[in-house]
C-alpha cells in the first residue's frame, strides 16, 4: 500500500471511530470479565479462551460476541425459551425428519436422529471434502439433498437452509470449535487469512480494522466484537430472524462500501474457514442472539 492509500485508510477508520466519540477503549481485553454463559442452567459455554497459536502477535485471547452484548441481549441467549431462534431450530428438526425427493428419504434415513448423526459436525465446518474442495455446512446439506435424496437444493440464504444449519449447529452446542487449518485445508485457510487483512471498499476497511484492531470500541452505536462466528447462524434482533455466516460476511464487506462477494462464493467459503479458525477453542453456541 502506498502512503496516500494508507493515509486515506487511516482517516476512514479514524472518522468512523470518531463518530462514537468515546475515549478509545483498550482492544483485545475481556469486555465483561467474570460474566459466564450457562444455557438453560445446565450447558456451560466457553465464551473466552486462549487464542490459537496462529494468531500469535494478533490476539492473545479470543472472546465470543456474546460478551460484547448488553445484559438483556445476553439473557435471551441464556434461556432457550427466551431465545427466539429456537422456533427455527424446531422447524429445522422437523425438516430433518421429513421425507423429500425421488429417493424417498429424509436426512434421518441415513444419519439417524439429528442429536446423534450431527453431533460435532458444526464444530468442524467448513471442511475440505473427499474431492479436495472446501465446503461449508450448506454445501454438505445440499449434496445430501441432491445426490442422496433426489430433492431440490435449498437456497443458501433462505429459511429452510438456515433452519437446517441452526438445527445442526444446535447438536454441537458447548463443543469447542475446531476447524482444520492445515493439510488440505491450508491453501484455503491462507487465502481466507489474506482476505481478512485486505482493506475493501470506499472506507478501506479490512476485517481486522474493526474486529482485531478495534474490538471493544464503538462504531456508531455498535460495540465492536472480535467478529467470532461460533454463534452462527444467529438470531438478529434487527432482522427478527436467522442470519447465515455468509450473509454476515457479505454484510460486513458491504458496510465498507465495497462490491461484495456473493453468498456461497468460494471467496466467502475461504473467509468463513479463516474466521471460524480464529474461534477455535470457543464453544459452538448453537444459535446465538445478537443485535
Amino acid at each position: 500500500m502506498n502512503f496516500r492509500a494508507r493515509t486515506a485508510a487511516g482517516l476512514a477508520v479514524a472518522a468512523l471511530l470518531a463518530i462514537a466519540g468515546a475515549a478509545r477503549a483498550e482492544s483485545n481485553v475481556d469486555p465483561n470479565p467474570g460474566v459466564e454463559l450457562v444455557i438453560n442452567g445446565d450447558t456451560p459455554i466457553t465464551v473466552r479462551a486462549k487464542a490459537p497459536d496462529y494468531l500469535e502477535g494478533h490476539l492473545d485471547n479470543i472472546y465470543s460476541g456474546w460478551l460484547y452484548r448488553i445484559e438483556s441481549t445476553r439473557a435471551m441467549e441464556a434461556d432457550d425459551f427466551e431465545n427466539p431462534a429456537i422456533t427455527f431450530v424446531e422447524e429445522g428438526i422437523d425438516a430433518w425428519n421429513t421425507v423429500e425427493g425421488t429417493e424417498g428419504k429424509s436426512c434421518a434415513s441415513c444419519h439417524g436422529d439429528i442429536s446423534e448423526g450431527m453431533k460435532g459436525v458444526r464444530a468442524r465446518m467448513p471442511a475440505v471434502n473427499e474431492n479436495g474442495e472446501l465446503w461449508s455446512l450448506e454445501d454438505y446439506i445440499n449434496n445430501c439433498r441432491v445426490n442422496r435424496m433426489g430433492a431440490e437444493p435449498y437456497k443458501w440464504d433462505k429459511g429452510p437452509m438456515k433452519n437446517m444449519t441452526a438445527a445442526i449447529s444446535m447438536q454441537s452446542r458447548g463443543m469447542p470449535m475446531n476447524v482444520a487449518v492445515d493439510g488440505p485445508a491450508a491453501p484455503f485457510w491462507e487465502r481466507g487469512r489474506d482476505m481478512y487483512y485486505t482493506r475493501y471498499g470506499l472506507l478501506q476497511l479490512s476485517c481486522a480494522s474493526c474486529h482485531e484492531k478495534n474490538n471493544n470500541n464503538y462504531i456508531r452505536g455498535d460495540h465492536l466484537s472480535q467478529g467470532q462466528i461460533v454463534g452462527f447462524p444467529t438470531y438478529r434482533l434487527k432482522k427478527g430472524g436467522l442470519v447465515s455466516i455468509h450473509n454476515r460476511l457479505k454484510g460486513c464487506i458491504r458496510d465498507t462500501r465495497a462490491e461484495t462477494f456473493p453468498i456461497g462464493s468460494q471467496e466467502l467459503r475461504e473467509l468463513e474457514l479463516y474466521v471460524a479458525s480464529r474461534g477455535n477453542g470457543l464453544s459452538v453456541e448453537g444459535v446465538a442472539v445478537r443485535p
Partner: protein
C-alpha cells in the same frame, strides 16, 4: 455518556440517504417507522385511559435497558402491585401505544414483561389503574443507539 450524546451528532458526509440506509444496514429500523404516523398520541391514549384524571406517582415501576442495543427488541417490564390494568406507551413512536394489560383474579402479581419496538430514544411511560380507581404513572428513559452493523 459522552458517547451517546455524540452519536446523535451525525457527521457531514457526502452520502445520499439511500447510501446511508444501505451502509447502516438499518433497513429495518428505518423502514419500521416510516413517517406515515397514525394511531393515538401518548396524550390521547393517556386521556382515554384515565378519563382525564391526573395520575399520581409511586407504586409503579418500569424495568428496561438504559441503552437498547437494537430498537426493534427492547425488553420492558412493568410492575404495579394492586393494579387492575396497566397501559404502556412509547410517546415518540409514530403510534404511541405499545400494549395494555388487565389482570384477572388468577394473576399471581401485577407484573408483566414483553419486548417492544422503540423508534428512537424516549421516555417509556406506564400508567396503572388501581383497584380504587386512582391512577399512577412512571417513566423511564431508554436510549436507542444509532448502529446497524450489529457489532
Amino acid at each position: 455518556m459522552s458517547r451517546l450524546t455524540q452519536v446523535e451528532e451525525r457527521p457531514q458526509m457526502n452520502i445520499t440517504r439511500r447510501d446511508a440506509l444501505a451502509i447502516g444496514a438499518g433497513g429495518i429500523a428505518a423502514l419500521a417507522f416510516a413517517p406515515a404516523a397514525f394511531g393515538a398520541t401518548a396524550d390521547e391514549a393517556i386521556a382515554a385511559f384515565t378519563g382525564g384524571a391526573t395520575p399520581g406517582e409511586g407504586g409503579i415501576d418500569i424495568k428496561a435497558p438504559e441503552i437498547a442495543e437494537n430498537g426493534n427488541v427492547v425488553p420492558i417490564e412493568v410492575n404495579a402491585p394492586g393494579a387492575e390494568e396497566i397501559l404502556v406507551l412509547a410517546p415518540a413512536n409514530p403510534s404511541a401505544e405499545i400494549f395494555s394489560v388487565k389482570f384477572g383474579p388468577a394473576a399471581g402479581a401485577q407484573r408483566f414483561s414483553t419486548r417492544a419496538r422503540l423508534a428512537k430514544t424516549q421516555d417509556v411511560t406506564a400508567i396503572a389503574r388501581m383497584a380504587d380507581g386512582s391512577f399512577v404513572m412512571a417513566k423511564r428513559t431508554v436510549k436507542v443507539t444509532v448502529g446497524g452493523c450489529g457489532g
